[in-house]
């Protein structure tokens, strides 16, 4: 009887040792590093970015409250269009047409049995009035619009059209933009199914004057892509399952994606698809679950150097990120899920509150 408590204590110590050997070392960043760099929550949850107006230095985004805006240097978040019991805004995109600024947004009525009905509203920012209609549009992604009925896929930015014919289902859409001015490419990666059940992985790029479409050959890669970034010709894709790095050296010459046989150590299992290319430093950046990840590509040798970025411009911005848009040369505006908006300055390798 007297020995049993001692035996219990020894057992506890042995269990401690056993458990310690089973440490989870997969985390990209130490837990207490993540805690000590956490940023104050703003009390609003940003679900997606809607755009940025450089003239008025105003960012537009969607929160749980509705469509919102924030002016640079001002902490106040203004709700432009509030969610109601019968209207939940899902997606939005800022654009300018003939000198007039608009935000086009999609919403659904959650009280309806059939919640698949999508409505489109166009908010004229100068008057703050909306016109609404049952929509043929099923998605708005960073200036690109997907029309329902499944036949066309158009660019809102310059009126040029890139068509996905016989579109049956949009499985996944990922957007991104470059951080640097040259080359200035906004892009969309669409994983879609046509009416004959064939699947496609299509990259659509917009360099400001031309919209181009490329069907990517994915026989050598996993088509479930978590994130991507591109410059004028080169494309890096990150596989969702194992964070594998795939590449296309010159998409204008060949659209076949190749496996680099390297992968990032961060997980992209539940992260939003934030990726951008910093042409000034020739670095591709991808935001994973725990950190920013950099990929340097030696195209001459087809070799890749990967690293995680937890300080510098990424300091304090390791939590969930809802979106990112370019706002100036070498500056990205990042929409964090709970901590508000931050500017990443790649030149000074720092960040600041918007």
């Amino acid at each position: 009887m007297k020995k049993s408590p001692i035996a219990i204590s020894i057992s506890i110590i042995l269990l401690c040792c056993l458990a310690f050997t089973g440490c989870n070392l997969d985390a990209k960043v130490g837990i207490f590093r993540k805690v000590s760099t956490s940023t104050e929550t703003k009390g609003v949850r940003i679900t997606s970015a809607a755009g940025y107006d450089s003239a008025s230095t105003t960012a537009y985004f969607i929160t749980d409250s509705g469509l919102c805006k924030q002016v640079k240097g001002n902490d106040d978040i203004t709700v432009l269009v509030a969610n109601t019991e019968t209207m939940h805004i899902k997606q939005a995109s800022f654009y300018t047409n003939s000198g007039v600024q608009y935000i086009k947004y999609l919403y659904q009525n959650p009280t309806q049995d059939n919640q698949t009905t999508i409505y489109t509203s166009t908010l004229t920012l100068s008057m703050l009035t909306s016109s609404t209609a049952v929509s043929t549009t099923s998605g708005i992604y960073a200036g690109f619009e997907v029309t329902d009925g499944g036949k066309t896929f158009t660019s809102l930015q310059n009126g040029e059209m890139a068509t996905l014919t016989n579109l049956s289902r949009m499985n996944k859409v990922i957007t991104n933009s470059n951080a640097s001015s040259s080359p200035n490419v906004n892009a969309l990666l669409v994983y879609w199914t046509d009416t004959s059940s064939s699947e496609f992985l299509t990259l659509i790029t917009d360099n400001g004057t031309t919209v181009s479409k490329y069907n990517i050959g994915y026989s050598a890669i996993d088509k479930d892509i978590a994130s991507f970034a591109c410059n004028s010709n080169a494309v890096i894709l990150i596989g969702k399952e194992n964070s594998d790095i795939y590449y296309i050296t010159d998409i204008t010459a060949s659209t076949e994606a190749a496996d680099s046989n390297k992968n990032l150590s961060d997980s992209f299992s539940n992260s939003p698809a934030i990726g951008f290319f910093d042409s000034a430093n020739s670095v591709f950046y991808f935001k994973g679950n725990d950190a920013y990840n950099s990929v340097k590509w030696n195209t001459a040798e087809t070799s890749f150097t990967v690293d995680d970025v937890t300080d510098g411009f990424a300091e304090g911005l390791l939590e969930s990120t809802s979106g990112a848009v370019k706002i100036a040369n070498d500056q990205m505006l990042v929409f964090t899920e709970d901590s508000g908006l931050f500017i990443l300055d790649l030149t000074s390798n720092s960040n600041s509150e918007f």
């Binding site: 009887m1 007297k2 408590p5 001692i6 219990i8 204590s9 506890i12 110590i13 269990l15 401690c16 458990a19 310690f20 089973g22 440490c23 989870n24 070392l25 985390a27 990209k28 960043v29 130490g30 837990i31 207490f32 590093r33 993540k34 805690v35 000590s36 760099t37 956490s38 940023t39 104050e40 929550t41 679950n289 725990d290 995680d308 300080d311 939590e319 709970d338 901590s339």
Partner: protein, 199 residues
């Protein structure tokens, strides 16, 4: 802090006074003690010893943790009239600045020394060593943990008593290679009300 010291002094005085009126309880080898504790945790510091960018030491609010809570259960077995060994299981939580929850579940072996015993009053100094399961923002880590604790306890009768404890609970994270700069020790200062049963 002043209120805490006053409370400790009061407990000590009551214990000494009551000790004179009661038949003194004395511990023997083989006695056992159970305790339940609950209270607050004050973030003390986080130290990154391998940090190359600055001192790597942040304290108080700079830890980006807020005031939290803690609870624990302990079992002790007396191996001599003044020394007891046993184990403790706890749970603590704090919110970070981003309003996410940091939770720790320490499981530790514990050694206690009873330098002051009056029958109705014990002063207990303890050292616990073990592991803690730490969870934050989707991350999970199991690592060595330690706690030092000092605890005055007043007994209403031979078996039941209440007290207050304070000390330092430290949890480590250990990394190698490219992540070695994230190796850290995070310390919380718990202040707990305690309930004891002994026999």
């Amino acid at each position: 802090m002043k209120k805490t010291i006053t409370a400790l002094v009061l407990i000590a005085l009551i214990a000494v006074m009551s000790a004179s009126a009661a038949e003194a309880y004395s511990y023997e080898t083989g006695d056992q003690a159970f305790s339940f504790k609950a209270g607050l945790t004050i973030p003390a510091f986080i130290w990154f010893p391998n940090d190359s960018t600055d001192s790597g030491f942040v304290s108080g609010s700079e830890t980006h943790m807020k005031l939290g809570g803690i609870g624990s259960l302990s079992y002790m077995y007396f191996v001599s009239p003044k020394i007891a060994i046993g184990g403790t299981l706890g749970y603590s939580f704090n919110y970070s600045r981003s309003a996410e929850l940091v939770t720790e579940v320490p499981i530790m072996a514990k050694a206690s020394w009873y330098p002051v015993q009056t029958g109705r009053f014990d002063l207990i100094a303890s050292l616990s060593l073990g592991i803690a399961f730490t969870r934050y923002s989707g991350g999970f880590y199991t690592s060595p943990a330690a706690e030092i604790e000092i605890e005055p306890v007043f007994y209403f009768n031979d078996n039941w008593g209440i007290g207050i404890s304070s000390g330092l609970l430290g949890v480590s994270e250990i990394y190698w290679k490219e992540k070695k700069e994230d190796t850290s020790i995070a310390a919380l200062a718990p202040i707990k009300l305690t309930c004891h049963y002994r026999h």
